[in-house]
Symmetry: C2
Subunit: 417 residues, 2 copies
């Protein structure tokens, strides 16, 4: 069972992966009783002196106090000569909590700064859970001493557990890059299950590497990967107030510093980083609230990439497409309707729709070899691929989503209570 | 039970209203077995010579053959000196059926034109049901003789039944206008339950009046009412391939012709017409697939009307807001998140959110008098009103939606089969 008492997603990986230790990063988690009882709900992450930090955050106009605070702190630059820290709580989003929200952020990050002897401007924070209720920050401040005492380079799995809300499994991913002078390691954790339609950022995601990368290049490596990873997933079209991704590079690997992303090492690092981001993004979808199917929607032949994105998201967010998938119904007519409503340039008579390798419709109608029985059999797979070619240009976009089931209604008709 | 075997919506009116007879309009319905068995599924509507006709249709780029055909025919003007007709089938949308789709439209409308001695260009048609399957138009053509023999000015209730798909109740509305020289009557029927997010048009809606109104003014009276009625409803954010509204004015009332919409009579007519349109739009929402709550979302104080529309639709289409309403949970934090993701200009600290007359949040946080018990009690009402004031300008927009329940999943996870 997951932390919220929900059965583990049928799409969950068999187990939490073995993540490499990232020299210079320590984790600790504790049970502060922010909302949940009998489980860990606060995580502290210490980032060693000499690291650099990058971030990406939701573009929601009602974003949470901690998001605004992180953005303000990172606007001053990503260098952390004296080190940095991240403090995260689940159970309360500290969003839409007015001036009180910032007071809570100040109380928690101030206490961490004191305990770790860090500048306040290098203590980042995240809160996830219900919106609009005051954060009982005293409960978090009360466990900071215990957290500091428990900091451990091997605590990453516990951290991935503590940040869960309606998640049914902890999410981690890693990569090792053969860089000039030695190996570079990347490890990350994420949480997210509902309110998933990231806008230029992510759910809560924390990525760590022992590479030495200057803050501006680190931000560039991160930003260039967002569109094809976290911004390409949707569970329910609802963008969160609290999406946040923080990436820290400690520089403690033996390899040479990365000072140019265009070198072999630079490209290998960026590619591995984006691979870890994609893996975590997929895990968020695989833990989509109520999900029983993992669905790739690949749009090609659009007039532009922007049009391809519109079409892919119109399909991935269509309740009618998602319920058909839940029902294992090869109802490709609903995909036609979603293309039509997307607002993108489309020509009914050039449209081609495929499931896996099977072409269902082309030239404005059912494909000549259309086989309803084969299409229905395909829908019984757990991982599905919907291909849409618009036949107009070279715009392309792939996004990932899950189905819409009774489980989603169960979870969200009384999540708060 | 409704026609699709579904229990009648708890939001349904007690009974189908008594609609006034519109002189010059006759209805007939028959069972052609297009898809459903043991129920009527084809309707013929005859419009008397000397009438004028107006229409509004979906802007989907994958719109159905009959929609394209209607648009082409109305582009030539709305006068019908020799009369007109509408033929409608349920059970098959004749959408995404390529060249075969237009052949089906020609076969059906051609047969009606012959049977009623009408120009083919004055026979309109609609098809509603599954997308992507060829329309068995021979079955429809085979019952046209029976339909013509059964034409009857009192057949409107039967027509409202025959056009249903997943609808659980037939929808009708009417108005009587005191016009210069006598009364003018307006009557309309509609179908719609899922795939409801009309874009510049409607579901299937047919409106009739015995007023004498030139075609251009009739179109103007219709078009000016769309934004605040059918374009202001959403069940599931999925815009149909087949939305169509046709309005016919027979001119058989005793009152003087309406030659100016700005006169007292003209304004009264437009107001009554829009009232009938709003009534039918609300009935479509009240028959939203799986609906148990009727929800008005009223946005005020936006920087522009367009921004107010974005915010209202972001709330009305949010799965998290809609499942909270289904769960009778006063989870206004999800409304904050929906405002944030809408893309409209918003300032967290000026936002005010109310349920009915109760202010829940203002100035960026819970209202001082916030009463969780009272808010929860309010959510038990069947008809709900969510008010959002953005505190920025004078832009305003009201839209209507329903909740998202297990019933929606039930209906759509295996509607086609």
């Amino acid at each position: 069972m997951g932390k919220a008492g929900l059965p583990v997603s049928p799409l969950a990986p068999a187990r939490f992966p073995d993540l490499p230790v990232i020299a210079g990063i320590d984790f600790a988690s504790a049970a502060a009783g922010v909302k949940y009882q009998g489980r860990t709900d606060v995580t502290l992450i210490r980032i060693a002196p000499g690291s650099s930090v990058a971030g990406a955050f939701t573009r929601s106009s009602t974003r949470a106090a901690c998001v605004l605070d992180n953005q303000a702190k990172l606007a001053a630059g990503g260098d952390a000569p004296q080190g940095a820290a991240i403090v995260i709580n689940s159970g309360n989003a500290n969003a839409f909590t007015g001036a009180r929200g910032q007071e809570s952020v100040d109380a928690v990050t101030g206490a961490v700064a004191s305990a770790l002897d860090l500048p306040r401007g290098r203590v980042f924070s995240s809160s996830t859970g219900v919106i609009g209720e005051p954060l009982p920050h005293d409960r978090i401040v009360a466990v900071i001493g215990d957290l500091v005492a428990g900091l451990d380079a091997g605590g990453v799995a516990g951290a991935a557990q503590a940040i869960m809300t309606t998640d049914t499994f902890p999410k981690g991913a890693s990569a090792v890059v053969e860089a000039e002078g030695g190996q570079v390691r990347i490890a990350g954790i994420a949480k997210g299950s509902g309110m998933i339609a990231p806008d230029m950022a992510t759910m809560l995601v924390y990525l760590f590497t022992d590479a030495r990368v200057p803050a501006d290049l680190l931000q560039q490596a991160l930003s260039s990967g967002l569109d094809a990873t976290f911004n390409a997933i949707t569970v329910d079209s609802d963008t969160s107030t609290s999406d946040a991704l923080i990436l820290a590079a400690t520089g403690q690997a033996e390899s040479a510093p990365i000072t140019d992303l265009g070198t072999d090492t630079g490209r290998a690092f960026v590619s591995a980083l984006h691979g870890v981001m994609r893996d975590l993004a997929h895990q968020v979808v695989r833990d989509g609230e109520g999900a029983t199917k993992f669905v790739e929607v690949a749009v090609t032949g659009a007039a532009s990439d922007a049009d391809a994105h519109k079409v892919a998201m119109a399909i991935a967010n269509s309740p009618l497409v998602k319920t058909a998938i839940a029902g294992q119904d090869a109802n490709w007519g609903r995909i036609v309707a979603a293309v039509g409503k997307s607002g993108a340039e489309a020509d009914r008579d050039r449209l081609r729709i495929s499931f896996g390798d099977m072409v269902l419709a082309e030239n404005g109608w059912r494909a000549p070899g259309y086989d309803e029985a084969a299409a229905s059999a395909y829908m019984k797979n757990q991982d599905l691929r919907i291909g849409v070619d618009l036949g107009l240009g070279s715009g392309a976009r792939t996004v990932w989503t899950c189905d819409l089931t009774h489980g989603y209604i169960d979870i969200n008709a009384d999540y708060r209570s």
